[in-house]
Assembly symmetry: C2
Homo-oligomer: 295 residues x 2
């Protein structure tokens, strides 16, 4: 676990620096929205999705400079989704990564616009020739991101999460919800590395299955942390989903079976990487990290 934590931190620092350079500076009359964009995107965090982009790209010896652009763009999309999801009209969260959420620090309008700005900027970054010299690669990255983040992906998942039926979802329903809400972007992270690396269809498939497994495990662990963690550990309120009467993996399966399911998924995720042999060791460690994380 030490190695993977070190690797995560190193990649996270690189992503933070790149986001800082890519996001517009605060110097204009409309600076407030830029300030809010920067606040939410530069607020630290595990940077798990960027890490997955960079490590899957590394499987194919893609230059880090290319992968870093995609990693930063994807993190912008992830951060936009957090800013919008935290709004009072949605999950109504005051705390994120141990700090005030954007609408608490500014207001709802600024949070909506900052999210809009981050989402828009992400596509601009992917279209830039710095992201990859091959135009077709950039277009595939854009197509994939639009699919993963849109109404058939993340946005659709959040919609289900807010629907009146949310409380009564069965295990299949919760799984589908999480596949869209969290899974789609995690899956895209691994796909993006494969696109950058011009992977074979077999390699792409392996990475997709790996991503699907860790994405679901990630969410089950989130549910476990919501039950067992503390706000100090997680940097956000705990017990929220449980209190809101939302159907969760833990609620459906119980604590022990939920943990067993997460372990099984992580085991499966690692086996997906067999075709990459030793080169995928950090991705296997990432799977372990997803299981054992406390925040």
């Amino acid at each position: 676990m030490q190695d993977i934590k070190k690797a995560l931190t190193a990649r996270a620092d690189a992503v933070e620096a790149r986001l800082d350079a890519l996001l517009p500076p605060i110097s204009t009359p409309e600076g407030e929205v830029v300030e809010a964009m920067r606040y939410s995107a530069l607020g630290g965090g595990k940077r798990l999705r960027p890490f997955l982009v960079m490590e899957t790209a590394a499987l194919f010896d893609v230059e880090d400079d290319y992968a870093l652009e995609v990693a930063a763009a994807l993190e912008m999309v992830h951060c936009y989704s957090l800013v919008h999801d935290d709004l009072p009209a949605m999950d109504d969260s005051d705390l994120r990564r141990g700090r005030e959420t954007v609408h608490k620090k500014w207001d709802d309008a600024t949070a909506i616009l900052a999210g809009d700005g981050l989402l828009t900027e992400a596509f601009g970054v992917l279209a830039d020739s710095k992201t990859h010299p091959d135009a077709e690669v950039r277009l595939k990255l854009i197509t994939g991101l639009a699919a993963a983040a849109g109404s058939a992906g993340m946005v659709g998942g959040q919609m289900i999460d807010l629907s009146p039926n949310r409380a009564n979802l069965d295990l299949k329903g919760i799984t589908r919800l999480q596949d869209l809400k969290t899974g789609a972007l995690i899956c895209y992270a691994c796909e993006a590395g494969a696109i950058l690396g011009k992977a074979t269809s077999e390699e792409l498939k392996a990475l997709r299955l790996y991503a699907k497994d860790i994405g679901l495990a990630f969410q089950i662990v989130d549910d476990l942390l919501d039950h067992e963690g503390t706000p100090e550990e997680t940097g956000k309120p705990t017990g929220v989903d449980f209190d809101a009467g939302k159907a969760t993996f833990v609620g459906q399966l119980g604590l022990n079976a939920a943990r067993a399911k997460a372990e099984e998924l992580i085991c499966s995720a690692k086996s997906r990487l067999d075709i990459f042999a030793g080169k995928a060791q950090l991705l296997r460690d990432t799977a372990t990290f997803v299981l054992e994380r406390r925040s």
Copy 2:
């Protein structure tokens, strides 16, 4: 004016049909967000921006099928901006195009997500090979849209519009606000036609200046309609900006000078098109339409 109205209607019908085909169908558990996306994007409207894409593309004999994709993508972005701007946290409007706004018909969360979904979908459409066979053209379209719609464009303009200093803007400040909030997408509409048509830099410059002129005139006419129009004519509440104490062109210049300024801009816009000679007649008529419209 009859010809331009007929042309606008014909193009608007084509855009409506294309949007209908491009937007996802309503058939999934997350269907509500898709329904809201379709409601806002298929709600009619002048479709001025799509029209400008198609008519500027026509200057270069671009196939209508290509221009239509860009027109639909741009209209998705325009509609997303309306859905978000209408939210209670922003302009708090109940009426749009003579119908309930999305957050009134559904709720704030659905409106936020529907906007997010439309914005995301737009980039997916532009990246699709149906939009243009040349990958570099599609990437230029995406880069341009991200710049026009983001924090240095439309989103930045809306931020200024909501800022505490909004009431006290002088003429220069209002002009800059409108250049970003409304002008950026109108300018992009004309740029997009030029990108599709692989215009020379001189042609691109001419179209940009034309767009800048009609964009500003469009906003001055909006202010005039806010003062002189009725909700029946405009399909939205009138007197709103005036009542909100916002600095407007009419407030700064007075009714007569504001109208004169709009006329002057339209005259200037037409002269920008000289290099296209007779081929640009519909675009000249569009400028007249922008001035004389009552909604």
